[in-house]
């Protein structure tokens, strides 16, 4: 009898421990009559994390392994003077962006995994530098998150400028879910906002909060690896990885708490749950969540006239399912999802370039340009 009793208890615990999840209401479908195709422009890349387009049409590409490549007229040149990168787990050389006024000031911004500072391990850093004669010069460190840790997870990172010239960048929770994201006196699990010289804007939300990391703009994030300025509204949009289910799209707002890990549509990788709630007062709901996870990386919001039928659509790379996702929104609500270029490979990044073309970076392959099908 006692045995049956304990068996029942175990069954009861098991039912509760294995959380049920509801799939995303809108499912990703194959496109009908896709009028675009991909054209490989930069071959033979390993993990092309970030890309930036210079005024001469050439391209800067970061390889996660630590290499910065300048691609011009079909030739790859390795750039010297890149700081030492702490390649561990998901960390490495991460995103790259140029200043909105690059033509006049030449500043290039880079995030990467750095072991600088006290303690073993590393954390995400932001630098800026100028490119002269294939070398990074005048390098300045603008931010270095702490503490260092040997954890391999969740470094972020993406960089974006808004219309007012503020710089935003992301750092994930660094595998310390229950400590970092909800604590504004700690780094990690945050979106940061800085002036272009690295100083902290005096209207940042926690500027007067005691002990707060005043560079924080929003918190409660897990691991944002996609970030784009909405060209129509100027708002900063991000996508972030959930655990098993619960990847999210969020529109970042000043001082807002995006809830990780107090609220989430995801569950542990093991199938057990870490929270019972998906919403709570004072915490933001995502604009969209993915269940199952697609492992989103990179984001672009289409405004280019080269893709008239995609205008205002959100493009997101899927690492897991190896396609580019096109999300169609009406009044900030996702109404349709499409899987583009299925099986192209792990899509790490997507950017709408100044030439109006959309470029996608695929792991193990290279960078493709999306063009009209002949």
């Amino acid at each position: 009898m006692k045995k049956i009793h304990s068996l029942l208890i175990i069954v009861f615990i098991a039912i509760n421990a294995c959380a049920q999840q509801t799939d995303s209401e809108i499912k990703a479908k194959e496109p009908n009559n896709l009028s675009y195709t991909t054209e490989l422009v930069v071959p033979e890349l390993s993990i092309p994390w970030g890309m930036a387009f210079l005024p001469d049409g050439s391209m800067l590409i970061t390889e996660k392994s630590g290499e910065l490549i300048h691609f011009k007229n079909g030739v790859k040149t390795t750039i010297e003077g890149v700081p030492e990168v702490y390649v561990r787990g998901q960390g490495g050389l991460l995103d790259i962006e140029i200043h909105p006024d690059y033509k006049n000031n030449g500043w290039i911004y880079i995030t990467y995994a750095s072991s600088e500072g006290e303690g073993d391990g590393g954390n995400t850093a932001l630098i800026r530098a100028k490119l002269i004669d294939n070398t990074l010069v005048e390098l300045q460190q603008l931010y270095k998150a702490g503490p260092n840790t040997k954890k391999g997870q969740h470094w972020g990172s993406r960089i974006e400028f808004d219309n007012d010239g503020y710089l935003y960048f992301s750092i994930g929770d660094r595998g310390n879910r229950d400590v970092n994201p909800q604590d504004i006196t700690r780094d990690c699990g945050k979106i940061y906002r800085l002036n272009d010289d690295g100083s902290i804007p005096n209207d940042n939300p926690f500027i007067d909060t005691e002990n707060a990391k005043t560079a924080i703009f929003s918190y409660g994030h897990r691991n944002p690896q996609g970030m784009a300025k909405n060209p129509f509204t100027g708002a900063i949009w991000v996508n972030e990885h959930g655990p098993k289910g619960g990847d999210e799209i969020n529109i970042i707002e000043k001082g807002k708490n995006f809830g990780w890990p107090v609220i989430s549509y995801g569950i542990n990788y093991s199938g057990t749950s870490f929270t019972d709630i998906t919403e709570k007062e004072g915490m933001e709901q995502p604009l969209f969540y993915w269940v199952p996870s697609i492992a989103p990386s990179g984001m672009a919001i289409v405004s280019s006239k080269k893709y008239p039928d995609w205008e205002t659509n959100v493009l997101v790379g899927s690492l897991k399912f190896k396609y580019l996702e096109r999300l169609i929104l009406e009044n900030n609500e996702v109404v349709k999802r499409e899987k583009l270029f299925e099986d192209i490979g792990r899509v790490r990044n997507v950017v709408q370039a100044p030439d109006g073309f959309i470029y996608i970076a695929v792991e193990g392959k290279g960078i493709y340009k999306i063009v009209h099908q002949e």
């Binding site: 175990i10 069954v11 615990i13 098991a14 039912i15 421990a17 294995c18 390993s46 993990i47 996660k64 392994s65 702490y86 390649v87 561990r88 787990g89 960390g91 490495g92 954890k151 391999g152 997870q153 595998g175 655990p243 990788y269 093991s270 199938g271 897991k320 399912f321 190896k322 490979g345 792990r346 792991e363 193990g364």
Partner: protein
């Protein structure tokens, strides 16, 4: 009902696993290495290869009962140490994903190898040592 059964099985395994862990003595270097490897696995591998090593079909190859892992010891160490690129065939299925170098030190590679070759039905009594890992070149 199937879900409940699965959950029950998963949980029961967990319990058994836990009780086993507790009974590990501190004198067995393989068992100690497996324990350290479990931590590394959770940190660096689990988000793709999943908690029970089954991977994701056509995306991330399985480690549980993986013929590739069992037969290609050195190549597996090389993959963990320097990253894995290009096609591999695992249990009759072709995989062509890209796994970046994880940045693990040789002792961590040895630990995680000992964990994955002794979990989820895999068995390997011969401990993978730091020396063995250090000899594996790109």
């Amino acid at each position: 009902m199937k879900l409940i059964t699965n959950c029950f099985l998963a949980l029961a395994t967990l319990f058994i696993f836990h009780s086993k862990t507790n009974s590990y003595t501190s004198q067995d270097p393989l068992k100690e290495s497996i324990e350290r490897g479990r931590e590394i696995y959770t940190d660096f591998c689990m988000s793709c290869h999943l908690p029970n090593g089954e991977g994701v079909e056509n995306v991330y190859p399985p480690l549980a009962k993986s013929d590739y892992l069992i037969k290609n010891h050195e190549a597996s160490i090389r993959g963990i140490k320097y990253g894995q690129q290009g096609e591999i065939v695992v249990n009759g299925k072709t995989y062509n994903s890209n796994m970046a170098a994880l940045g693990l030190s040789d002792d961590e590679v040895a630990d995680v190898m000992n964990y994955i070759t002794n979990s989820w039905g895999n068995k390997n009594d011969k401990i993978v040592t730091i020396e063995e890992v250090s000899k594996v070149k790109k």
